[in-house]
Symmetry: C2
Amino acid sequence: MADDSDTVITAAVLVIGDEILSGRTKDRNIGYIAEYLTGIGIDLKEARVVADDVEEIAAAVNALRTRYTYVFTTGGIGPTHDDITADGIAHAFGVPVVLHPDAVDMLKQYLGDNLNEARLRMARVAEGAELIENPVSKAPGWRIGNVHVMAGVPNIMQAMLDGIAPTLATGRRMLSETVEGRGVKEGDIGGPLGDIQARHPGVMIGSYPQFDGTRFTTSIVLRSRDAGPLERATADVRRLVDTLISEPDR
Amino acid sequence: MADDSDTVITAAVLVIGDEILSGRTKDRNIGYIAEYLTGIGIDLKEARVVADDVEEIAAAVNALRTRYTYVFTTGGIGPTHDDITADGIAHAFGVPVVLHPDAVDMLKQYLGDNLNEARLRMARVAEGAELIENPVSKAPGWRIGNVHVMAGVPNIMQAMLDGIAPTLATGRRMLSETVEGRGVKEGDIGGPLGDIQARHPGVMIGSYPQFDGTRFTTSIVLRSRDAGPLERATADVRRLVDTLISEPDR
């Protein structure tokens, strides 16, 4: 894992599955992967959710793998007929789907007599892929080029990501500070906050209102790869928030 | 709202916000909108998450609005400098950003002397837009062409969606049945389930494993716009699940 380089490493997440688009299953993988990548110094730049459709998967994979350092897919690598992620990704790379011999061996060893034709589908990969270990239920994920193919079941995906992380190039970590403006309305802080943003172009300043049903409060999140500018901008925001909180009639 | 038509109405969701991609905020809007649209007979076909970046927003909006009947965006319509959804969508449509006079009036009436320059940002729309009511906190959403621009705060977004729904064309509702295969492993049901799918091409059959840390169970979800074929395929799946559950050594 390369650290402290000035290179910015980027990524996209591709969630594959009709069940997410129908609303039956609520995705929990985008948020998890987003937080995980931020933590190791990789910028998640985009996420997409597409249906179980070979052409849709292939089009999304090709759009994303050419733009970002890494792509992480979740879903569609199980043993049933609707698990067609391998087909979509093979199509994107213009290679056939093959049974990975190591995956077949692993499944044989783990499943013994229970290894039937359906379960053998879990050894299907795009030709040229390398396996990603699945410590939870053995059926592996895999990587081809810069695309990492992971399970959709959250705890399995998370275990796979732990296995992948040490193999990834990472950039300088994004640092972040949060100033909680309790009782501060976004509309009151908006003007002067924009001025602070203008004075600190190297720091990304986001403003996030929460609404508890009766009133808003505002969290200001500051992000930068450089500690000095981040500290100075954060000090300015803290002063602003203190001023607003101490004003009467709030 | 047109009902019982044979037209399939499609949609995409575009979530706009750095906070989702950094993992700081976990998106809850995609899942809510997915379930909502399914319920009123609109097929959500794709979802994307992009950063607070005018070019990224514009590119995604143009990719999605040309492919699907409707696009629903969430986020980036508040009063701070990082709320640039209006800029991105105006750019996509090739029109300027303007202050919508009705939105200005509404904000004046609601906010009185608190209407400052920052809050006035909440009246910014792409030229030609129509307002979408915000019963929670007044600052409106808006629609231009087939693109509906909504708040990112979930309860405000949900209220806006309730207001939009009666204006949408809807297709024949997708019907769905779920067969819970408790104790059924996906790898055991995979083969015969694929055969059932092949016999019922008009029904979409999905298989969704859950894993509770020690073992998998499998939910089979069948979907079709036609009740007859759905009923017949569901009966086949129920028979299959019953057979698997009654087998010894499971």
